[in-house]
């Protein structure tokens, strides 16, 4: 029962791309065609399941302090395996994915699942978790790839045996959707739709909830926010007349954001202090 849950949570409820907002690079880069999206999804799923199983098996052997490099090496090994397999048996997919195939190594979905799940759970649960997350990733890529291909090129599954020409004659394909700009746009709209349908509270800041780099990101924000605030204050002092109406609105916003920033900064400071003490 609970195993079933580990599998299904990745499909929709905790979809790595659309809900956890992880693995943006491949999501944007290779979704110009639905077929590429499936190829990428399948490759990533394979790596995800294998690395989850191996990391779950090794979880008691890997020392905590060097766990991230260890995970990356395991993942890179499986990525090389996939690269060689695709090159041998599916050269068209290998060519289509190009540089993004080796870059699965640094896909934060895989590292994120290793850190969040596989290093804490048993082998069976980890494998199912990897499979569910992988299929969820593939689904998201497929949806975005389909939208972009149908609107941008007017075809669906181009390059395969069952290619369909979708756009009727009265409509020109909109090349914009195949361009990089279209990738950002469609992903943004799809995430907004998911938010709307699920009535989910919008994620705080930029999401990245399950990203292994989250703490570093927050500390960067906190460190950068201090000088930025000073600059804002300076600017306000220098031009007091210019923005009187805006200022009121700004203050309302600033009060809330400043507080959270301060809180985060405090937390980070506390943590580093603790670490230093430990050292």
């Amino acid at each position: 029962m609970s195993y079933m849950k580990e599998f299904t949570k990745g499909l929709i409820k905790e979809n790595p791309t659309l809900v956890s907002l992880l693995g943006m690079c491949p999501t944007l880069a290779i979704t110009t065609m639905a077929f590429n999206a499936i190829g990428m999804g399948a490759a990533a799923t394979f790596v995800l399941v294998c690395s989850n199983v191996v990391i779950s098996l090794l979880k008691n052997i890997i020392p905590k302090s060097v766990r991230l490099p260890c995970y990356i090496v395991v993942i890179a090994g499986f990525v090389t395996l996939v690269q060689l397999l695709l090159q041998a048996f599916l050269p068209p997919v290998y060519d289509a994915l190009g540089i993004y195939l080796p870059l699965i190594t640094v896909n934060c979905i895989i590292l994120g699942r290793a850190e969040m799940f596989a290093s804490k759970n048993n082998v069976g649960a980890s494998a199912l978790d990897g499979l569910g997350m992988g299929i969820g990733f593939t689904l998201a890529l497929f949806v975005i790839g389909s939208i972009r291909e149908i609107l941008g090129s007017g075809t669906w599954f181009a390059g395969t045996d069952f290619a369909i020409t979708v756009c009727p004659d009265f409509m020109q394909p909109m090349t914009l959707f195949v361009l990089p700009a279209g990738g950002f746009f469609v992903l943004g709209i799809v995430i907004a739709l998911v938010n709307k349908i699920s009535h989910r509270k919008p994620p705080e800041a930029t999401g990245c909830a399950a990203c292994p780099n989250r703490e570093s990101c927050i500390s960067v924000e906190a460190a950068a926010a201090v000088p930025a605030e000073k600059a804002v204050i300076k600017a306000n002092v220098e031009k007091p007349v210019e923005k009187t109406a805006e200022k009121v609105a700004e203050k309302a916003v600033d009060n809330s954001t400043e507080k959270t920033v301060e809180k985060v900064a405090e937390k980070v400071a506390e943590k580093t202090e603790k670490k230093e003490e430990n050292n």
Partner: protein, 201 residues
């Protein structure tokens, strides 16, 4: 002269026409994650540029003088990611010991760089394109500067975005992505620019 010209072409291509972030989608996570402030973007951009150039300078000779003669070129992904991880650690330690002032400003960004796909991306891209050593270094430099330019421009856009009243479904990531789409669209305008400047038919 010919050399300088070809270097300029690679550099400008990396910065403008084939921008790493906006047209190759490398390094999207930090692009969306730490671009909220101009100073953060500048720091991250500098750190990424430095690591990209150093990583290229180390991985290129290793690939051609170690992996290729041994017939192990298929191991490049594993070797490169390990080298990048070690390099980032090393840079962090050296900075901490010898240049504490620089460590204070750039130190927070370094842990984010190991898993940045722009760094691994540029080392692999250089091999795919068959660049020689000098070309690879220039390509890494161009990619890094392109990353920084994109981050800086986008931090300005996000500064505006923070003060806007966005529909709740769009709040956070979706509206950021739509804004990134418009910034990316503006870079489409640079298409053909490099060819035009250097008179390539």
């Amino acid at each position: 002269m010919e050399l300088a010209k070809s270097m300029m072409i690679i550099l400008l291509t990396g910065i403008l026409t084939d921008n790493f972030v906006l047209s190759k989608f490398l390094g999207i996570c930090p692009f969306l994650g730490v671009s909220k402030t101009t100073s953060g973007s500048l720091g991250m951009g500098c750190a990424v540029t430095a690591v990209m150039v150093i990583a290229t300078a180390v991985t290129w000779p290793l690939y051609y003088f170690f992996l290729v003669p041994m017939g192990l070129s298929y191991l490049n992904t594993i070797l490169f990611i390990m080298i990048i991880a070690v390099l980032v650690q090393l840079i962090e330690m050296v900075l901490k010991k010898y240049i504490p002032a620089l460590y204070k400003t750039l130190g927070v960004y370094l842990p984010l760089i190991t898993t940045n796909c722009a760094v691994l991306g540029v080392t692999i891209l250089n091999l795919d394109n068959g660049y020689n050593f000098l070309e690879s270094i220039v390509c890494a430099l161009g990619g890094g500067i392109g990353f920084m330019v994109a981050m800086l421009i986008f931090s300005g856009v996000r500064g505006r975005l923070e003060r806007c009243n966005v529909p709740s479904a769009f709040a956070g990531m979706p509206i950021t992505l739509v804004a990134a789409s418009i910034v990316s669209l503006s870079f489409v305008g640079f298409g053909g620019l490099v060819d035009g400047i250097f008179g390539i038919a």
